[in-house]
Amino acid sequence: MPNPQLNAAGELTHLLTLEGLPREVIVHILDTAGSFLGVTEREVKKVPLLRGKSVFNLFFESSTRTRTTFEIAAKRLSADVINLNIDTSSTKKGETLLDTVDNLSAMHADMFVVRHAQSGAAHMIARHVGPDRHVINAGDGRHAHPTQGLLDAYTIRHYKKEFSSLSVAIVGDILHSRVARSLVHVLNILGTPDVRVIAPQTLLPTGVESLGVRVFHDMRQGLADCDVVVMLRLQSERMRGPLLPSAQEFFKYYGLTPEKLGLAKRDAIVMHPGPMNRGIEIDSAVADGPHSVILPQVTFGIAVRMAVMSILGGT
């Protein structure tokens, strides 16, 4: 089956998931993002690539950081940005998702940035829209969050240069995390030899080993000699039933403290997709400490989203 994200010429026309994307497509996005970083340091922080185009942010699930960084990215590309507040929109009046999309297409939307609680929502929209419209998945259920995976990969490449000798540990709520899934895919595509997930059994999806990761339940073992530590947010809003005894208990075993970080390599970097729960998955001394690259991740995220939008918009 052809990859629904690529057009007949093999160019990226939607970004739905990183799974199965050719390595050169990912490297092209990361390289392009590097060129966009400088734009934000100029007097005029805009380039004219998407001038006259309309980008619709369709967020069916709440988000501040991701929506804002997509909005900034689109505006720096000179696009017009329309944010749809879905809580007050027609879906509440019974309109279906695809009817909403058809109506927005009739308003000449060129690009849709979609976040939805349902896995596969962005795929459904991408199959539905015409060939000149582009869809970016900004997170669908537990499935994928490709621009987060790309900005994580960009951050790792920025600090560590090469993936071919890295050990990367992803810690915490893997079960509910589309961030973890997208990161594992991109790390595998870029040839990272050692990807580890560290979590209690109850926060791991069944068959997680089939993604190509090593599983650890003991954080101290899992962090040993790591180059990169990616902490995930404990997604209590998605938890049904007692997966965990308590947040304090979780912090004791899986919270990243300076002492546990000491087991990783001396120059290890600490990442977090945000928003952080200080004192639950990460200690403030680490979040604000010298190993933390959590704020640069946000800055890189804008450049990565500019790269994705400008590549899609040109196909």
């Binding site: 160019e11 092209h28 390289d31 392009t32 590097g34 060129s35 966009f36 970083l37 400088g38 734009v39 100029r42 007097e43 005029v44 805009k46 380039v47 004219p48 690539l49 400008s310 590549i311 918009g313 040109g314 196909t315």
Partner: protein, 163 residues
């Protein structure tokens, strides 16, 4: 066809630019051939303002037709553009569209006092009202052929014509 010697054209440009440049003159080369030429001119003229480089991919007017260029390099302008006299350097002046894009990008860094265009070869066939203040040679090249600058491992510049 017989192509002019790029090194001789380069020497001629240096001779003509020497009386024009001052301590305040800045130079910006357009990737890739223009940046090579600019590196040479900048060094030979002993300019002190750091050399700038532009990749105009984000300003091309054929983006909606051809998409984003496959290998975009970061533009580097390490000086304050505002109020500056800038020599904008490219290897070949043809339709004028690259120069238009480069001027738009430069002005997004600030408002220069003036921009002068320096090219090694002017091959005519302009599609925009743009002309070079300093040009090494004027050359008629068959339509569709690609004239470009090449640089070998010793740094020697030569002109190449690709059919």
């Amino acid at each position: 066809m017989q192509l002019p010697d790029a090194e001789a054209l380069c020497a001629e440009l240096i001779k003509r630019l020497r009386p024009v440049v001052t301590r305040e003159t800045a130079m910006v080369g357009i990737h890739t051939g223009g940046a090579w030429l600019a590196e040479r001119l900048h060094r030979e003229l002993g300019l002190t303002v750091p050399l700038g480089r532009l990749d105009i991919s984000f300003y091309r007017d054929d983006y909606h037709k051809s998409g984003l260029h496959k290998s975009v390099k970061a533009s580097q302008i390490g000086f304050d553009v505002a109020g500056r006299h800038i020599l904008l350097v490219d290897d070949v002046l043809y339709t004028g569209r690259t120069v238009r894009a480069a001027m738009n990008e430069l002005i997004d860094y600030g408002r220069p006092e003036a921009i002068d265009l320096v090219v090694l070869v002017d091959r005519g066939e302009r599609q925009l009202p743009i002309c070079a203040q300093y040009s090494g040679a004027t050359l008629a090249v068959p339509k569709g052929a690609m004239l470009r600058l090449a640089r070998d491992e010793t740094g020697t510049l030569t002109l190449r014509l690709d059919a």
